[in-house]
Symmetry: C2
Subunit: 187 residues, 2 copies
């Protein structure tokens, strides 16, 4: 039996990312799990729903570039930490080592499985949040998470977020083929 439970968002789990940007010339990090996928072909667009109060938003607007970094469960403490303190008061620039890619102003985290370097494509604004829509210009993968040149989520062991339990979760195992598991139902 289904019951109404208000108007809560139950679209979880989502991957926990660390967004990196230069704010007034200094590298800053924040964790963001309110992410989204806009389309399914190049140029690939992804979205970040970020409260306007965040310090990182200033840098994304300023430079029009940022990176979105996917983390493994091993780094849960560091990933959680960059969401606990604001870059407006605390220097978080040394939490992760970074390098710069072709966009020049988007710091990219070195020690994480996957990073997407993004150019700010557009900002969709709500009263409280900036929905930053980024175009992925380059993707970087640690060789240790590739199998036959492809990203292997079993090796990435991504950190996932759930608002209801306020817990981080791990990923389970593959359970079937997309565009395949339902083939037998075609009449």
């Amino acid at each position: 039996m289904k019951k109404k439970i208000g108007d809560q968002n139950v679209l979880y789990p989502t991957p926990v990312t660390v967004v990196a940007a230069l704010v007034n010339g200094k590298v800053n990090f924040i964790n963001v799990a309110h992410v989204g996928i806009v389309n399914a072909q190049a140029p690939h667009l992804i979205s970040l729903g970020m409260n306007k109060a965040h310090h990182t938003n200033i840098g994304i607007r300023e430079n029009g570039t940022f990176s979105v970094n996917v983390f493994s469960i091993d780094k849960m403490a560091e990933v959680d930490y960059v969401g606990l303190v604001s870059g407006s008061k605390t220097d978080k620039s040394a939490v992760f080592e970074t390098f710069f890619g072709e966009l020049k102003t988007a710091p990219i985290i070195r020690d994480c499985p996957l990073s997407m370097e993004c150019r700010l494509h557009d900002t969709y604004e709500t009263k409280t949040h900036d929905l930053f829509i980024g175009e992925i210009t380059a993707t970087y993968a640690d060789e240790s998470v590739l199998t036959g040149g492809k990203v292997d989520l079993a090796k990435v062991r991504p950190l996932l977020f759930d608002m209801s339990s306020r817990k981080y979760w791990s990923l389970g195992t593959p359970v079937g083929d997309c565009w395949g598991a339902g083939k037998n139902l075609i009449k």
Copy 2:
């Protein structure tokens, strides 16, 4: 060592949803895993990145309402099936039983753990995709997935999507506290 792997989107896994809408008066379903979360407070906004070629888009535009239904791994075949055939050619209205809520025109799936009834808030268009931004007006949960009145992902056992492997994945276990796991790093 990190290497460039093109410009691919690696923001996975994402929850697999079945989006339900009335198209020309008939219930239609499609699976959508290119979802997103826009903000973190009411009115709760979520996004669906849907190729403009899909039949369901017509109904979402027509009625300005739809539902987003979260499925457990048990129903993988049915969920996959509604993404394999188009409602323009195949009547999928009997795949899931539905009911209508307060919006009157958004069919809501009865036999799934979680459903969000949505009013179309806005449509952000790209050349190939409609990013439908929905305002959640009501959320429905099967009592079997609640623990102490809260959604329990361990009971939901959500079906997750990964583009790289083209596999559906299961969820693992909780690994730590959000806004907690990094507290020891605060100086």
